[in-house]
Symmetry: C2
Subunit: 503 residues, 2 copies
């Protein structure tokens, strides 16, 4: 490692003597502590200290409460879980090993709306953050920390913690400096409006301002971010994108939107990414994004000349896209900003700007309630993430899913979802490869009709119609046959298929 | 009726010739129209035109879409339902006859977050309002309309409609003039921050500014508002209030709140009213309210010297309290403001001010999901109202309910709610007469433990523990036994009791 290089990245001379090994820095973290780490959708997470911490936890009793922005890369959640170091974890995760521990009840997982974690901390509704561990491009002369490919909750963790460990990552380009806009709300009741009035607005500082004496240790690394594991578009995701493009064309035709639509948000993952990429071949222009994670599709849209500006809280790319974008970052930088997730996901800003929110459903029911998180209503997949922040406050809340899973043995549209993340009030559009159901201003019985007619794969359509008929005979605003509401899930559990004749 | 009196209430001379009968005014409303009427929790609703409309609908084909602020008084919903005049109804209702028609699927009811109705209209997500019918104290010289005991959606209905009918109500005191603060957001993407920074702030105008030529008819009435049907406190509501007072004393002790707490919101109805009245005998002082409906308890708190200021969207009182308050309104007026429900319930303001939200649950489940609306998951009671606007964005979201209903044959805490209005993410505290479960920063399995230990009536506690044991054997982050999740509701349907030995 080039000593010159990392010293240039510590602008505050006092702090240069705080450089130490990851193992030494990790010693600052003690059993029972609450630790706030940088990292949002694998981007900008700390790499060295958590690995050293996991190493230590294999030798001595050490259990922490771990808070992050969202998901981590570099197998951090796996390493900490396997070392038995996680007592509690929030607000989001995607790791299979951690997921299994959560579902066994071994790690207490608090799945949160991503805009709310630091609000809960600031209000004292949970134990305070003892120590923050933040990845940085560099530290400025003032001691201010320049984050890397995500902001997430890093700024508030650093502000609220007693001590801060900084990981300076030489693999993160200095070109990232200037990308961030750090704005932190005051404690209530002194809170003021967020002055942000457009996706491209800048209202904060370029770095995280904290007293330099709080920086207790600095660790140097050159380990790159984990890349995203997004799948390529397929016929079904292309069909979903096509339905949405046609829907928006109609909205423009009706005079409700212009060709630049309104600022777009897209959830994490393959489907939302494919939908956004589908806009490359669309009549829309001068688009903007006000989202949380900027994925490959954001840069596809830039390259297609469709997108004017993108605001997010992190940048998470596939290996190829990552090489392209960070290899020529100057080409994009002026059209990008990364914000704290409290701002990127803030109800106030989302409602003000009028976001078009596109998120992914695990399953939806005939009335439009959405399950984003719990397989069979019980087993956590990842977490609600920011979908609730956006869906509740959006101009238009869209949920996309393929109509079936498991080679058709599971329908993504069911009589009743066994776990509700988004109630029918927060779901305007459901779209599958089959078609699009426009649920705006419809009553529940009408919503059921629209969803069944447009979104459901053939073998399940008749089954749902039969359910609705029986339910309506019993009556009610939202008719159900409670003792049969979960029969499909129960059948899948017993036979491996929701279909009636497969057992 | 005194001709002098009503003419004094029409400041714009041009408009005096628009005074007509209710029947004549109602002729402006035609079959198929969308009509926006004033009225929020029975307060400030129009009385004459809807009755004339119902009368007409008995003689000729006439079906409308009716939008209001919230519930209406004066049997308007019953009269219109019985006359077959309601095709569609939103966003809230409480009438037994309308409720039955909704549950038979005869009236299409769109149950909405109360902050969102005019947002949906403004965005063009539903058919526009053809005509607004608004109760007024008076019309100013400019043609601006001074609303009465509620603002609700009146201002936006009047602004968005092609024509406006005004009902001037001589039974509403002119002392109400000056009470209102009308602030309307701009259409997106030109939307600006709501400049409101405290419950007592004033940011708008005193009346609803519209071009006077839009006022197509004026009807005069002297029919008073319907009063509230709130029940008196009983031992159980007093116990609920007691648990909450002790909880807040502990929060003050812990340094998280001061004796003036944070602005309070209380939902509609007996339990929330009783909880607020319970604060009259508390150590708290200089309280403020930022709520939607101001009920008897608001004025009890004023009279007890506990409350400094109350912001709402309507005032709905019992007959006795109404006589006292409106008989001496000057005593309270400077400490009150009524706002559009879009502002009183706005996520932006609720999150900024840090509201303590106290709402009523129909039932809650062991993980803290709340059903506020659907009896047995199917039959609409009233509607979600503003509870979601507040619960999602509150500093602290509290749901109160008695632990049982129907003489103990129904438990208000169940394994799984068959309809979710508020997900576990939006529920911090559940309180019954049994006790209070503090769910902050708890994982689902911990939430279940806290709720069962604190909130559940004796016979149901063991039943829930048995359910949890069986569910945990199956595993999962949020353990359930899907085929038994609604067994209690099913048993009640069959036997009239959720208890196991009653059949």
């Amino acid at each position: 490692m080039n000593i010159e290089t990392y010293q240039e990245r510590i602008g505050c001379p006092l702090l240069r003597e705080r450089v130490t090994s990851a193992a030494q820095a990790a010693e600052l973290i003690r059993d029972g502590m609450t630790v706030g780490m940088s990292g949002f959708t694998r981007a900008g997470d700390v790499k060295m200290v958590p690995a050293a911490l996991a190493e230590r936890a294999r030798r001595e009793p050490l259990k922490i409460t771990l808070l992050t922005g969202a998901s981590l890369g570099n197998d951090t959640d796996r390493l900490l879980t396997e070392a038995g170091a996680l007592a509690r974890r929030m607000p989001f995760q995607v790791d299979p090993v951690l997921r299994a521990a959560i579902n066994r009840g071994e790690v207490m997982y608090i799945d949160q709306h991503l805009s709310e974690t630091v609000e809960v901390l600031r209000a004292g509704h949970m134990k305070p953050v003892d120590i923050a561990v933040i990845e940085a491009v560099c530290i400025l002369e003032s001691g201010a920390i320049v984050p890397t490919t995500s902001v997430g909750n890093s700024a508030s963790f650093a502000i609220l913690a007693d001590k801060v460990i900084v990981e300076i990552n030489l693999a993160q380009s200095r070109a990232l400096e200037g990308l961030h806009d750090i704005w932190i709300p005051k404690k209530r009741p002194m809170r003021e409006p967020i002055p942000l009035m457009s996706a491209e607005g800048r209202v904060g500082t370029l770095a995280i301002d904290i007293p330099p004496e709080k920086i207790a240790a600095i660790v140097i690394t050159d380990q790159p971010d984990s890349t995203s594991a997004i799948l390529p578009s397929d016929a079904e995701t292309a069909a979903i994108a096509g339905h949405l493009v046609r829907f928006f064309e109609n909205e423009i035709e009706a005079g409700r939107l212009t060709r630049s639509l309104l600022p777009l948000q897209a959830g994490i993952g393959t489907i939302a990414n494919a939908v956004m990429a589908g806009f490359c071949d669309s009549p829309f222009e001068h688009l903007t994004m006000y989202s949380e994670v900027l994925q490959d599709s954001t840069f596809d849209l830039f390259d297609a000349g469709k997108l004017d500006f993108a605001s997010g809280s992190s940048i998470t790319l596939s290996p190829q896209k990552s090489a392209q974008v960070f290899g020529d970052f100057g080409r994009y930088k002026e059209r990008l900003v990364l914000r704290p997730q409290e701002v990127s996901n803030h109800p106030e800003v989302i409602r003000r700007l009028g976001i078009i929110a596109i998120n992914t459903a695990l399953e939806a029911d005939i009335y439009g309630n959405v399950n984003s998180t719990h397989v069979a209503g019980t087993h956590m997949m990842n977490g609600i993430g920011g979908s609730g922040d956006f869906a509740r406050n959006a101009y238009l809340s869209i949920f996309a899913t393929k109509s079936t899973a498991k080679d058709g043995r599971v329908s993504s549209i069911v009589p009743m979802v066994p776990h509700v993340d988004h109630t029918e009030h927060d779901v305007d559009i459901i779209v599958t490869e089959q078609g699009l159901a426009d649920l705006r201003a419809l009553a529940p019985r009408e919503r059921a009709e629209a969803i069944i007619a447009n979104c459901v794969a053939a073998p399940y359509q008749d089954m749902l119609r039969a359910y609705v008929r029986e339910a309506q005979e019993r009556g009610g605003h939202t008719p159900h046959v409670l003792e049969k509401a979960f029969a499909w899930h129960e059948r899948y559990r017993r036979t491996g298929s929701m279909l009636e004749n497969e057992s």
